[in-house]
């Protein structure tokens, strides 16, 4: 009897669920978003604008070194924004050097003060945190500074720093908790003595002589601006740089960095990090080719060996939300839905998506529209342009040459390329041998553009317009028909005409 009752009770519970759902259950919110980063904020604000009752939970677990920050997520606090500002600081250092060639009389030594820069950057980031708070208020989105986790498909638990619990129920739940930098697991001393990108932008004092471990864009961008502001910087690379990016271009980017003054330790893997009595950090590493061990001391060690999704504390396994076994990211469908109905995930947390702010923002807005029943439009993740803000900037959209060859075979593609020299470099007497353009097209027919790559000043600005070409089905013939804007660097993209196949010298000459 008990068993029968129990069984019936269970059945009753399910039907009660369904029954009550049909009776328009009063959830606290139409939508609860866990994660107040680029994606989470965009989604919640858009949903609120469409008339939904929305709450967003944002909480920053301090880094291993104790760094924490406010609302806005990675981009605002420990990503794009502070990175670009520090990159600008480095660029301005070069500008000051160039200025002398243009007749500007700068006497005496030129030095850089970390604290002035970091104060200014941190103040700006704080103003953005504030700005986001205000925006959420304006759009009537409930903001809760709580660490969110899932209790069931409609219930979210929020935990405050003090340990106080808040329970919220929602019709739909969106997970946009992003990722955090990884620490290596097998290097003694890594976590105790090293920092990550979570910390670098919040340091009060200069990091000094720095070892950057890793060769992702995070590693190279950080090493780039550290070198640019005058710090002794070394990049330690296990195998290749900018994995996933066009490798020929990756080579140009790192070549430039080496010419620019960044040291590279190739084919090297750190073994241990020890703190010396002087306070300096002693790093021991192995060269994977020779097997030799080396040592050097640094003031700081910055780990940039990848990012891991923030899923551990979410309680996803209990609910059966499917995760990718390798990456740990949440598996999602084209509409951002997870394996559990009414739970969605997007941004850096979801599998197979570009880890970029603008895609997260756009995907978040489209998701909000779909959840409000206002549209069925899905996010198009194809041909998203991206830029790496290394000292020699690199902008690209579409396929790398390797990927294009994989998909279309070497004979199926035509690669147009050119080495050009920015006019401003000539008076400044700067070397431009890594300023390069590559346009990969389908061979034959209209020669549809498959991939476009540009290294040079303001690469991001140059690339944006060409990214549009992918929306419009641009072909090589469209480029040929476009008048070049003179004098700019970008005009070289529409004038590109030497193919790799021809083997001819691709250096641009004259007017």
């Amino acid at each position: 009897m008990a068993a029968l009752c129990r069984g019936r009770h269970r059945w009753k519970t399910n039907s009660l669920h369904v029954f009550t759902r049909n009776l328009t259950v009063k959830y606290d919110y139409d939508l609860v978003v866990i994660g107040g980063g680029s994606g989470g904020l965009a989604c919640s604000k858009e949903a609120a604008q469409l008339g939904q009752k929305v709450a967003v939970l944002d909480y920053v677990e301090p880094s291993a070194q104790g760094t924490k920050w406010g609302l806005g997520g990675t981009c605002v606090n420990v990503g794009c924004i502070p990175k670009k500002l520090m990159h600008q600081a480095a660029l301005l250092g070069s500008a000051v050097k160039d200025a002398k060639k243009y007749g500007w009389q700068i006497s005496g030594t030129v030095s850089h003060d970390w604290a002035t820069m970091s104060d200014a950057v941190q103040n700006h980031v704080r103003s953005l945190n504030w700005g986001h708070r205000v925006q959420l208020q304006d759009k009537k989105v409930k903001y809760l500074n709580l660490k969110g986790s899932l209790l069931d498909e409609h219930t979210v638990k929020g935990l405050s720093k003090a340990g106080k619990e808040t329970i919220l129920t929602a019709k739909n739940i969106v997970i946009a908790t992003g990722g955090r930098p990884k620490y290596p697991t097998n290097v003694p001393g890594a976590m105790e003595h090293g920092i990550t990108s979570d910390d670098i932008f919040w340091l009060k004092k200069s990091p000094g002589k720095t070892l950057v471990v890793g060769a992702s864009y995070v590693a190279l961008e950080c090493a780039g601006f550290l070198t640019g502001i005058g710090l002794d910087t070394t990049v330690m690379v296990r195998s290749i740089a900018l994995r996933g990016f066009d490798q020929q271009i990756a080579g140009l980017v790192t070549d430039y960095m080496e010419d620019y003054g960044t040291r590279f330790a190739w084919q090297s893997v750190p073994k241990r990090v020890d703190k010396l009595s002087s306070g300096a950090l002693q790093v021991t590493w192995t060269n994977t080719q020779t097997g030799n061990e080396s040592q050097d001391t640094y003031d700081s060690v910055l780990w940039a060996v990848g990012r891991a999704p923030e899923t551990k504390a979410l309680g996803l396994d209990k609910l059966g939300v499917q995760l990718n076994k390798e990456t740990g990211k949440i598996v999602v469908a084209a509409d951002e839905s997870t394996s559990v109905p009414n739970i969605y995930a997007f941004g850096d947390i979801s599998e197979g998506r570009p880890e970029l702010t603008p895609t997260a923002i756009k995907a978040g807005k489209l998701l909000a529209h779909r959840l409000a029943g206002q549209s069925t439009e899905l996010m198009n993740y194809n041909n998203v342009a991206t830029t790496v803000f290394t000292p020699l900037e690199y902008g690209c959209v579409g396929l790398s040459e390797e990927e294009a060859e994989r998909r279309h075979a070497k004979d199926g593609i035509e690669v147009y390329h050119a080495f050009y020299k920015p006019l401003e470099f000539t008076v400044a007497e700067r070397d431009a041998k890594q300023c390069y353009i590559k346009v990969i097209c389908e061979r034959g027919g209209d020669q549809k553009i498959l991939g476009l790559h540009f290294t040079g000043p303001n690469a991001g600005e140059v690339t944006q317009g060409f990214a549009l070409g992918f929306q419009c089905g641009a072909s090589y013939s469209h480029l040929l028909q476009t008048v070049g804007i003179h004098p700019t660097c970008a005009e070289e993209v529409v004038k590109v005409n030497i193919t790799k196949r021809s083997g001819l010298d691709a250096t641009v000459t004259g007017c």
């Binding site: 000051v96 160039d98 950057v121 006019l423 990214a467 419009c472 004259g510």
Partner: protein
């Protein structure tokens, strides 16, 4: 390399003879040589009072870019301190060092060009050409030596030269933009006469170098440009410290009695404050006198078509401007004579356009090509302190062409991330996308004002070739952080902005 003295096998000395050293002419010449044609390129224009004028565009454009860069670097130096850079506060500019550096670059570019022409197989003469018979050109070199050469096809690419104000004292004391670098001393207090792009650029460069600049807007501010954006450029310059004189004209320029005497035929020598006195007459008829060290005239450019023999063979020109009338194939009224570049009547003047048109012409003549140059959607850039790049129609032109109700102009100010730390103005940078509503909101005009506007615009110009619509702009994911991405998320329209203003007046 010099052309041979003996006639080559075949009817004419050359397949193609290009008169004029502009970039358009250069482009035709190089491209034609690529098709194994025998090409002669003459790059000397008629000697002017100040001496021989060199080939225009390539040099002038480089010089503009270098001057812009020098003035932008001043801003960069100031900004760098907000980013933590420390150096001795007072930073002065050495004009002669800049001049030397720029002239050095121009010289090496010139040598590079000569080398390139040689390796392309293009014969090049530093000589003046005048058409004396349908296929004959009288070539006069710098020594005065004359000879006659024949060619199957002629291309006129003589470009333009600055227009004069035609007032007393102009030839003796005033300079034009190309003379800037020949000044023996810094320009000092400068008056720029003319609101042309050229004038505003020069004013901007000099102001950016720390010199006091006044612009006399005669006749108009950036004629032909989108007027709302033109006003913004002007405002930006005013805030930067440039003085503007409106509704006036110059009546004469003379040396003040303080000026050192002797050498009165050449440009003013040792610069003492205000060695030139300019008499300005306001629209109301009042006379004003102002003193300057340098007076730069930039009231427009006129075509160099007056002494190259066009009349002798019946090449028709526009009566007012002197520019050559051409069809869509760049052909003049005489079949085998073509014109490329700013000499053409009714077309925009831009180096990029001339080069593009020149290449296409050569391909049509010798490469079996049939693609005509599209003169309708030409991207250009003005290197004013707030750089302005535009492609397609201005808002006014679009409304005139399609009717006001059929045009939607999306716009927005934006604040480049790099400007935040130095706290530069939030509402200077601006973009505008002009759309033709009935045609899927097709983008017919795109305007960008801000740093690196030219570099930003290029890709969008290519997209406009593909028939870019507003929807496609919106569907594109932006590159972050960056300024260009603002164009992918425009929601505010001019219509909305104006409606807001009207309501405010109630």
């Amino acid at each position: 390399m010099d052309p041979p003295d003996t006639l080559s096998p075949g009817l004419y000395d050359y397949d193609l003879l290009v008169i004029g050293g502009g970039s358009g002419g250069l482009a035709v010449a190089k491209e034609a040589a690529g098709f194994m044609k025998k090409v002669l390129f003459l790059d000397l224009l008629a000697p002017s009072p100040r001496g021989a004028e060199r080939g225009s565009c390539s040099d002038i454009d480089s010089i503009r870019k270098f001057l812009q860069q020098a003035s932008l670097l001043r801003q960069a130096i100031q900004d760098s301190q907000k980013y933590g850079w420390r150096f001795k506060q007072e930073v002065l500019h050495d004009w002669s060092e800049l001049v030397q550096a720029v002239q050095g670059q121009v010289r090496s570019a010139s040598l590079e060009l000569k080398r390139e022409l040689r390796s392309c197989g293009v014969s090049h003469l530093n000589a003046h050409g005048r058409i004396v018979a349908p296929r004959t050109v009288e070539v006069t070199d710098v020594d005065g030596r004359k000879r006659r050469l024949t060619a199957e096809t002629l291309v006129v690419a003589t470009g333009t030269t600055p227009q004069c104000l035609c007032i007393p004292g102009e030839t003796e004391y005033c300079i034009t933009s190309k003379d800037l670098l020949s000044l023996p001393r810094p320009p000092g207090r400068t008056l720029v006469v003319g609101g042309s792009a050229e004038g505003l650029e020069c004013a901007g460069f000099l102001s950016g170098l720390g010199l006091p600049v006044t612009v006399a807007l005669t006749p108009d501010l950036l004629p032909g440009f989108d007027q709302k954006t033109a006003r913004k450029i002007e405002n930006h310059m005013i805030v930067a410290g440039v003085d503007f004189l409106y509704r006036c004209s110059l009546s004469k320029v003379e040396q003040t009695k303080d000026a050192t005497s002797g050498d009165s035929a050449a440009a003013p020598q040792q610069g003492r404050e205000g060695t030139l006195r300019v008499t300005v007459i306001s629209k109301e008829g009042q006379t004003l006198q102002k003193d300057f060290d340098t007076v730069l005239v930039a009231v427009g450019r006129k075509a160099c078509t007056s002494d190259i023999g066009l009349e002798s063979v019946g090449v028709q020109r526009c009566r007012d401007s002197g520019r050559i009338l051409v069809n869509e194939r760049d052909q003049t009224s005489v079949d085998h004579i073509y014109a490329i570049g700013s000499v053409q009547h009714g077309r925009r003047s831009a180096t990029g356009l001339s080069v593009h048109a020149g290449k296409l012409l050569a391909r049509r003549l010798y490469g079996g090509g049939s693609v005509l140059c599209d003169y309708t959607c030409v991207p250009t850039v003005v290197l004013t302190p707030l750089e302005y790049a535009a492609c397609g129609l201005s808002e006014e032109k679009a409304k005139l062409t399609f009717g006001e109700a059929n045009v939607e102009a999306y716009h927005s100010h934006y604040w480049p991330l790099e400007w935040i730390l130095p706290a530069r103005n939030k509402n200077s940078c601006y973009v505008k996308v002009v759309c033709h509503i009935p045609d899927h909101e097709r983008v017919v005009g795109l305007h960008i004002m801000g740093p690196n506007a030219g570099d930003i615009l290029q890709g969008f110009a290519a997209a406009m070739k593909c028939g870019l619509t507003k929807q496609q702009l919106d569907a594109t994911v932006g590159i972050h952080p960056g300024s260009a991405q603002v164009l992918t998320s425009l929601t505010q329209t001019q219509r909305m902005s104006e409606a807001l203003m009207v309501r405010g007046n109630c």
